[in-house]
Subunit: 702 residues, 2 copies
């Protein structure tokens, strides 16, 4: 396959490096002539991407034209922009606004590969699909693909502050250089848009949900408008996080009460101002009455009142409100994992048609493993939008190799049974279960100024997997990993297979060394870096670890059955029965739902205590297996990327061992039990682990 | 000259792009064979740089060998490492530890270009000198250059916090990724070392002078040691900023009193610990009893007591203490610009031999223009180290094009007259005036994670100029700019000349639109972004603008003559007489030293008021001239860099206008005078400018 090129990761999965000569020759024959319109910015983006891709992959620049000259050709267009595409108008009409088809056919006696769509953006998406096929060495003969997104809003949420700091960011500063915008349009903004368009991501929320009202001032709207101008050709709309109290802070009003006419007028005026600058502005994302953010409850109003206030302001312009359901209050003595459901389920049907409620994948907060959120399936009259976290706040930051595609798939395939078997979360999200047209999936971005974009090479896969699943939540995480590895490292199966195996095992490894058997929220306080099962005290019980694991001399786990918090009751009865039953609950969720005696026998025949201790060590061994697999790829992956991944795996290994040692030391201090045979004592006493301090760990909220 | 290559600035002045064919052919003939040792890391660095440079510049990889085969060759080495170099042993011995010679000569009947030195590091420096000659198209025939640094410690000070934030940084986050060190050794660290070695910079202080004691803990020392390992082959020693109270914070002592034996033991032990990890550790930089930092005065001790405490701890290992003279206290009613002198001048001769006192270029704080610091020349028995600021805290951040070489040169050429005429600051700094061996120059780095390193393309020139002047403080800023422009953009004189002209005019432009005629410290509070001549109140008077400009209905300026604060008395009498004399003081320093009536006639014949207002507008026009010059280079500079510089110039222009408008509006409100004919009224009332808020401006201390 020739020499391995040194790379720094900036090119993401769009590297376009030379293919094997025979393959390149075949593609060159079929695609050497490109017939494509060039009058709109999106059309030019598609042409430029093809020029870049075909030149890189085949070694020859394609001949770009707007009129077919005869002979084999790649033909791009819509029925409006291309005479040749008009010949398949019927098929194209069925594709929807963003869909496309790729078809090898004969037109006027010539072999033609059509990339056709109703609109330019569909053509661009089709071009990226085609380039993916080429990068992974797919055969083109007989190609006939039709694709349309299953989800309407496919959005990245950037938790980026206006000073460039990224909350829970592990990839450097914010991509957005607010200081030099709108004058300086960094070419990187265009590359960001290309990467997203390659996946079908069609929206970006520029600023943190813990929002600063300044982002709605004229100066910052001008900056956001500059980004919107850059993103528009790539089909990406700009959204902003709105601070609910902005009418007070910016408008000088005395209240932000959603029923106050002055407040309503302020938001209508603000929406008019925004749309005057950004005609295709996507809408507003709101975190309200959660973790100290202002919201409608400050005025005795409901989340629906708050969301509808903004919905009414945006409706004349076609904008949407993404209203987060991530709410909890420590004044409420209820199990925190139940509170979002309790606050929202009664509001079903109370939201305006342009409001979508954004729900985290699980009922707590992006843990390595949670059951699916009980709101999915429980609000049939309200569109619910998935919120996944791509940045790895609880999964080892950027240095741990954890492929989240597996996590996303697990959640999406979970069966709410809301309408009987097969009522998967994916079908809630894509609207098919309950007949919603407004659908969405958001991912909290892991993107920053780091040269790799994501803080590590493998974290690029999580951005990639999110984007592919937002397009189609029924895809397989393994298939996505296979595509990504082929494009990002090499189409050589001898490279792809071990990488995909590493990726597919990686999330379970992290669960094992961090939170086995359904444990959750046992990380260090604040920055969430490293283990902290001993975390107790502080401002609120539901920010501690002991609140969640409830370990004592007799056992461990959070009883969420009817004998406990009864969180199981928030699920459909068939699901609740399984979760509530100690014998039927899936063991990966055991301690999420049950307080279990240390002596309890698991399906392995081992006691809970022995299994728990063993799981930690198993996680460490799984990291060692990844290290061995990666070592085997030396020389088949370019040295700079191989070196960085190897270094990060060393960090992951030592931190996995730290998680194991600290967790075992702590839980042993509670259980008072001996370690199972073959398990080594932690090298330090518990007090050592408890004393470790990391005040400069990245990404902490501030 | 062929096509212009798209570039992103990462390569700095080490781009090594193809030369004109005839020149490349000449160089290839002379340098196609490289005879160089390859046993040490520094030798390998020299070889690799040459391979990179010659391949890029001439299009052909040189033939690298360790033994001369006959024929023309480039020969590298020391008398120990090279038989051919041993033939010029006598000349080499005179070069000092870091010097080198470049000589075109004949040895054994062959044309040989020698790069010879006493030590490997000199050879590496010589290689970079040679590459500079090649990049700027210099003829090699008859080449005979001998170079030795005039200054011993040539150091960058990074004001980088451990969480990655850079105080007064405008180029992204810290380069140092403390979270992934020591495991991950980003190749960028090596490129940083290459860039510094290319200038002869031989030290780097990794962390902020507003220091966190954690940087002295074992975990962070391991990280610093990893950086030291990377930098060592490039002749760069690592230093750390020390928090004076570390014995309390880390050692659990009750005091940090420098005369306390336990404190002394703690620092000795800490020094031993550091040197066990970093055998060539450079030493410690300290900011003490200034702006809230702890220091010896907390215990009734002097700066000398504090510095000597650390000096004694480091002395057995050969380390030095760089003790900052940037001290002032708001409890002291004295003119802030006098305080450093007052605190330090009486300590002359009281410091240990391995202590050097680090003095900012001017008595205040890195203003666009200040007189030289009166300590220079006033402490003959104490080595004084220059501290320049490379990052542009007060000079428009990264978006304003301001070449600081001109500022540095002005300071270095200033005549203290401490030992009669010709007692320049440069001669104080290089030790020649007072016979010091320990000499130094520090630059507060403008380097961060931004792809350009410095936040803009032209700010790279300030890093470059600092490094060149640290090597030889007698160089000309214009010559340095010429070298830099030739290497960074093109050796084409049609490119170099207009760029150098822009650079050489740029600092005076900034002075004009920000602080004309000796005004100082009139920027906005805290972040220092934009004008703030109205700044008043707050925690301390000497952090306000009105403290410094003292404008009233009758006049403006800070009277520092004997009738005022008498700061002039801190200078040598001959200098003081000039500064104190309203008729003789240089007009660029007029309002620094004098409170002057608005009606006072300047040398132009105009009144002070008319001249002041005119200067602001002149500054704006100078920016417009830079914009015009840059526009003329379109097509001769690659588009990405041209676009960014053009965008930044637009920002600079609008901000220069803002400075002019706000300053004129404010001072007019004080003077009550009409604008001179031809001057336009500011477009907004004063209150508008006063109300502008920029809470997210970068680089603010926190």
């Amino acid at each position: 396959m020739g020499s391995v090129r040194a790379e720094d990761g900036y090119a993401l999965w769009m590297r376009y490096v030379p293919l094997a000569p025979a393959l390149a020759a075949d593609y060159r024959t079929r695609l050497g002539e490109v017939v494509a319109p060039d009058t709109t910015a999106t059309q030019r983006a598609a042409r430029e991407e093809l020029q870049r891709g075909l030149s890189g992959l085949t070694g020859y620049a394609p001949h770009m034209t707007t009129v077919a000259a005869g002979g084999p050709a790649l033909v791009l267009g819509t029925p409006q922009s291309s005479r040749l595409v008009a010949s398949v108008r019927g098929d194209v009409e069925s594709l929807g606004d963003e869909g496309y088809l790729l078809r090898q056919t004969r037109i006027d006696g010539n072999d033609v590969l059509l990339v056709a769509a109703r609109h330019d953006i569909g053509v661009l998406y089709g071009v990226f699909h085609l380039l993916r096929l080429l990068q992974t060495g797919a055969p083109l003969a007989g190609l006939d693909v039709q694709e349309s997104p299953r989800i309407k809003l496919r959005v990245l949420d950037h938790w980026d502050n206006l000073d460039g700091y990224v909350e829970r960011g592990y990839a450097g500063n914010s991509l957005w250089d607010w200081q030099t915008l709108p004058e300086w349009r960094n070419p990187r903004y265009t590359d960001y848009a290309r990467a997203n368009a390659s996946l079908g991501i069609n929206g970006t929320v520029l600023n943190n949900v813990n929002a600063n009202a300044l982002s709605l001032t004229p100066a910052y709207l001008a900056k956001a408008a500059a980004l919107a101008d850059i993103f528009r050709p790539f089909g990406i709309r700009v959204y902003l996080s709105a601070r609910f109290s902005a009418p007070i802070e910016l408008g000088g009003l005395k209240t932000a009460d959603p029923l106050d006419p002055n407040v309503q007028r302020w938001w209508r005026d603000k929406a008019n101002e925004i749309y005057a600058r950004i005609p295709d502005f996507g809408g507003l994302l709101v975190k309200a009455n959660s973790e100290g953010q202002p919201g409608p409850q400050d005025y005795g109003r409901s989340h629906a009142d708050g969301a509808n206030l903004l919905g009414d302001a945006l409706a004349p312009h076609g904008g949407v409100v993404m209203w987060r359901a991530f709410v909890y209050a420590h004044e409420v003595p209820e199990d925190r994992s139940k509170q979002a459901y309790n606050e929202f389920v009664g509001l079903d049907g109370a939201f305006r048609p342009n409001v979508i409620v954004q729900v985290k994948n699980g009922p707590l907060d992006f843990q390595p493993r949670e059951p699916f959120h009980p709101l999915f399936g429980a609000m049939p009259r309200t569109p619910l939008m998935m919120e996944f976290q791509i940045t790895k706040e609880y999964l080892g930051f950027a240095t741990h190799l954890v492929y989240l595609g597996q996590l996303y798939e697990e959640v999406l395939k979970a069966d709410t049974q809301a309408k009987g078997l097969g009522s998967t979360v994916a079908r809630v999200i894509d609207g098919s279960l309950e007949g919603h047209v407004l659908t969405g999936m958001a991912g909290v971005a892991n993107i920053g100024s780091d040269r790799t974009w994501s803080g590590s090479h493998f974290d690029q896969a999580n951005w990639y997997a999110f984007g592919r699943l937002a397009w189609n939540p029924h895809l397989s995480a393994r298939d996505i990993a296979t595509d990504w590895a082929g494009m990002t490292f090499s189409p050589d199966p001898g490279v792809v297979q071990p990488i995909v195996a590493m990726m597919m095992a990686s999330r379970e490894a992290a669960v094992d060394y961090m939170t086995p058997l359904g444990l959750h929220h046992v990380m260090a306080r604040g920055h969430h870096y490293g283990p902290g099962p001993w975390v107790d005290g502080g401002p609120r019980a539901d920010w501690t670890s002991v609140y969640y694991h409830r370990a004592d001399h007799d056992g461990i786990g959070f009883d969420r059955t009817a004998q406990g918090s009864n969180a199981v009751s928030q699920y459909a009865p068939a699901v609740a029965r399984i979760y509530a039953d100690l014998e039927r609950v899936p063991e990966p969720l055991l301690l999420w739902f049950h307080h279990v005696p240390w002596d309890h026998r698991l399906r392995s025949g081992r006691t809970l205590w022995d299994e728990l201790v063993g799981r930690y060590a198993l996680g460490v061994r799984k990291v060692e297996a990844m290290q061995a697999a990666w070592a085997g790829l030396q020389g088949r992956v370019d040295a700079p990327r191989h070196d960085q991944v190897a270094a990060f795996l060393r960090i992951q290994h030592s931190e996995a061992q730290w998680w194991r040692d600290a967790s075992v030391a702590y839980f042993q201090s509670i259980s008072g039990r001996p370690l199972p045979a073959g398990e080594t004592e932690p090298p330090h006493p518990l007090a050592y682990y408890q004393a470790l301090q990391f005040p400069s760990a990245p990404g902490d909220g501030r």
